[in-house]
Amino acid sequence: MSVNGQSAPGPKDSTPAAAPASSHAPAAPAAGPIGGSAAAPQLRKAVIVGGNRIPFARTGGAYTKSSNQDMLTAALDGLIARFGLQDERIGEVGAGAVLKHSRDFNLTREAVLGSALSAETPAYDLQQACATGLETVLGLANKIKLGQIDSAIAGGVDSASDAPIAVSEGLREVLLDLNRAKTVPQRLKVLSRLRPKDLTPDAPNTGEPRTGLSMGEHQALTTAQWKITREAQDELAFNSHRNLAAAYEAGFFDDLLTPYRGLTRDSNLRADTSLEKLATLKPVFGKNLGAAATMTAGNSTPLTDGASTVLLASEEWADAHDLPKLATVVDGEAAAVDFVHGKDGLLMAPAFAVPRLLTRTGLSLDDIDFFEIHEAFAGTVLSTLAAWEDEDFGRTRLGLDGAFGSIDRSKLNVNGSSLAAGHPFAATGGRIVASLAKMLHDRGRVDGRPARGLISICAAGGQGVVAILEAH
């Protein structure tokens, strides 16, 4: 499937994207579950102590005047207050933002310096589109597992309200040349190159650089390809709002969230929405595909501002600080697809990453108690599930004997997800990890083994990062 008419051939398609377990799997002991626990190459455990986020706000709302640094600092300070980490030197803080000002080259470190943590806490920025938050968790968990650090805070933040606006390429070149010019005549000559159109700023957009299509238009192609109905998408969106509202009512977020700038709940949440209301919304993506457009503002996530953090630790560090151990970070996997040439949909990488990860850890979909599949669009979740249920996709794309499998929908996004909460790109991973860790801890054990959760996050650039957590 070609999305933009580019004709360059892709790489040879002789090997399935999901290789069998043997090529990745570590030596002997990792072949299957041991002691009821998923096997992974662990030196020691990395546990999730807890998390904190600020409520997510629709762009142009409560956080319009808040910078990424403001929001990340607020999320950090709430985490510090919850766990008494004032003046604590944390092993490392890793966070990032997708929409980032050039002045924020040290965003996370600056947020740490503005927080109540010890100023001797090192920090780094990371950016992997919408997978940023989850990737910071996995990277820092690995450092803990390896014994490089004993504690870490993973996080992410994004503001579409306070997004950077760049000058045009023409103006930028003129300004740089002007800086290099030494004499007045040279400067005037450079300035004479300036044209009125150069003064138009270059606003950020979610378009894919290689296709020029927005993420929504890309997903519309995938949604149509997998024949996902409008009704199914609206139902997923409805469940997301209903589940998130119920979680708030039950006090689920009391120890996961700290209010910010007058907001105490995610501003995108519509507790009173209904399938009927969702059905009245007009499609916004895929209107030129020929088939009926199905993606609306109701079953797509809005642009959102927000920040999230997760406290990770070794078991020893958590014990020494009298802190809870909610869940362990078992393993993670990244994948990418060739969406440029239309081989797979832009947001379908998790459809490959999950089978690879489960195969590698000796698990199947039946071994998972909670599925947290990020709702970039309802169509993304449903296309991924459809792919896994598809015999042909399983055989030709995953290299399996048949369909990868189906999931018990009652285990999917049980406390709501991005369609209701909103999706501040880099902050979504932290939101999901902290919530899932709490759910797993509350569930405890299932059939004599620790409760287990799967996280799947799709990202721009045809990427996806997935992870498995287990109740501690």
Partner: protein
């Protein structure tokens, strides 16, 4: 911050103008600072009995400048009037009239403190009359004192000595700047429980304290004061106040617990948090409270019930959990915030005053229960305190309200916090079931 009028008339030309016009002349009160001297000058101990002698030698051992007889023209930091051996009302004359000659020598922000015995403890009418007489004497004297000086009394139950731990604890509290806005009040020492702190600057060292409603105002001030006194803090407030709560938690190096105290499991969640994170639980301060003011004629069920639920029902339920818990057995302390509204009443606050009156009843009845664990429970009733809430009162009403007390100014949130910190300390172990007003001797509610 001290209000603008008080700053204006407490020195320079402002003071002279106010004096000539007969306007109120509040002064900037001496408030506690760590490492500050306990009193501003020599302490005159009046009284001829053994109790007075023992007390005087204890004060000497604190390195205070103690006088048993007044030195003419010498400015005094405090007069301690020991009246523990009264047999008849006539016995008041000698010590009181001797003290009277020193009244003009009291320095600004000085103290007059009576030490007497409980009138209810005797069946002898003459003894009871003499003891109860101290009550009227002290309250009137407090109204005569000027320039930030205050008068308060310590009442000793049977078997309690002038040098029992909590007598000395209360004396230190009343002498110090911690009691700046406490005026015309009595504290009864009912037992010889309690002990003075090893380090007077850190009386709460090693204690784990929970403060509800800690996100702002008086609750935040309580958290800061307990932290200054050495306690490890758990600050609690409703989830919607979480951002302010986090800021307070980070300031006092404690942990924030976002919790609606009217939840049925609130007590257990508080105990679990304190024990799991900090290993123990010693002090619980019930500060969280709400107002939903309406004249009773306009009162609806929602306003009435929410105030009762948060201000008293929640405290009762949490106390039940605390008293049942094995983790609240080591000289535990509970201090509740009541209100002068609960004593004197306040128009438009039938629900609030009912809840705050309820707090005082609860405290009295809980004292024997917590006493079985060597613990104590008390309440503090603030009068007009300068907070975000009182700042919303219209200017003229506010200006009148804050002058209607012997100190002619509103109190600070920290003044309430100081009283609470004292009652939460080991030194107050012999004081239980009491309500201490922090109101500058407000003219209403006596």
């Amino acid at each position: 911050m001290t209000d603008m009028y008080t700053q204006l008339v407490s020195k320079g030309p402002g003071r002279d103008i106010a004096r000539k016009l007969g306007l109120p002349q509040p002064v900037v009160l001496r408030r506690y600072q760590p490492d500050q001297p306990l009193v501003t000058g020599p302490v005159l101990v009046q009284g001829a009995g053994a109790g007075a002698d023992e007390l005087a030698s204890t004060l000497l051992s604190w390195n205070l400048d103690v006088r048993r007889h007044a030195v003419p023209k010498e400015k005094l930091g405090a007069i301690v009037l020991v009246l523990d051996e009264l047999g008849r009302p006539e016995d008041l004359a000698r010590p009181v009239l001797t003290a009277a000659t020193s009244m003009r020598d009291l320095a600004p922000n000085s103290r007059v403190i009576t030490v007497s015995r409980t009138a209810a403890d005797t069946a002898d009418p003459a003894v009871a009359a003499a003891r109860q007489g101290v009550d009227g004497l002290l309250r009137s004297l407090a109204k005569e004192l000027r320039a930030g000086a205050t008068g308060n009394g310590i009442v000793l139950a049977r078997g309690v000595r002038t040098t029992s731990p909590s007598t000395l604890g209360a004396l230190r509290f009343f002498l110090s700047g911690r009691s700046a806005f406490v005026d015309g009040q009595f504290l009864t020492v009912s037992s010889t429980e309690g002990q003075l702190p090893a380090d007077a600057g850190k009386p709460l060292a090693g204690k784990v304290a929970v403060v509800t409603g800690a996100a702002r105002g008086i609750g935040a001030a309580i958290a800061r004061t307990l932290y200054r006194d050495g306690a490890t803090l758990v600050v609690v407030d409703i989830p919607a106040a979480g951002d302010h709560l986090a800021a307070v938690a980070n300031e006092v190096r404690g942990t924030a617990l976002q919790l609606d105290i009217s939840r049925t499991d609130a007590g257990q969640r508080i105990i679990d948090h304190a024990v799991e994170r900090h290993g123990r639980l010693d002090i619980v301060i019930h500060n969280a409270g709400i107002t939903r003011d309406k004249l009773l004629a306009n009162m609806d069920e929602g306003r009435w019930n929410s105030v009762i639920a948060v201000n008293i029902a929640a405290q009762l339920r949490i106390n039940e959990a605390l008293l049942a818990s094995g983790h609240f057995r080591n000289s535990p302390r509970i201090v509740s915030v009541a209100s002068t509204s609960g004593i004197a009443g306040n128009r438009g606050q039938t629900n609030y005053a009912a809840s705050k009156g309820g707090v005082m009843g609860m405290v009295r009845a809980t004292a024997p229960l917590i006493g079985t664990h060597g613990g104590s429970i008390n309440a503090v009733a603030p009068g007009f305190i300068e907070t975000e809430m009182t700042a919303r009162i219209p200017f003229a009403t506010r200006e009148v309200a804050r002058r209607l007390n012997s100190l002619q100014q509103g109190g600070q949130p920290g003044d309430v916090a100081e009283a609470i910190a004292f009652l939460a300390s080991d030194a107050a172990g012999g004081i239980s079931g009491e309500v201490l007003r922090v109101c500058g001797q407000n003219l209403v509610g006596a």
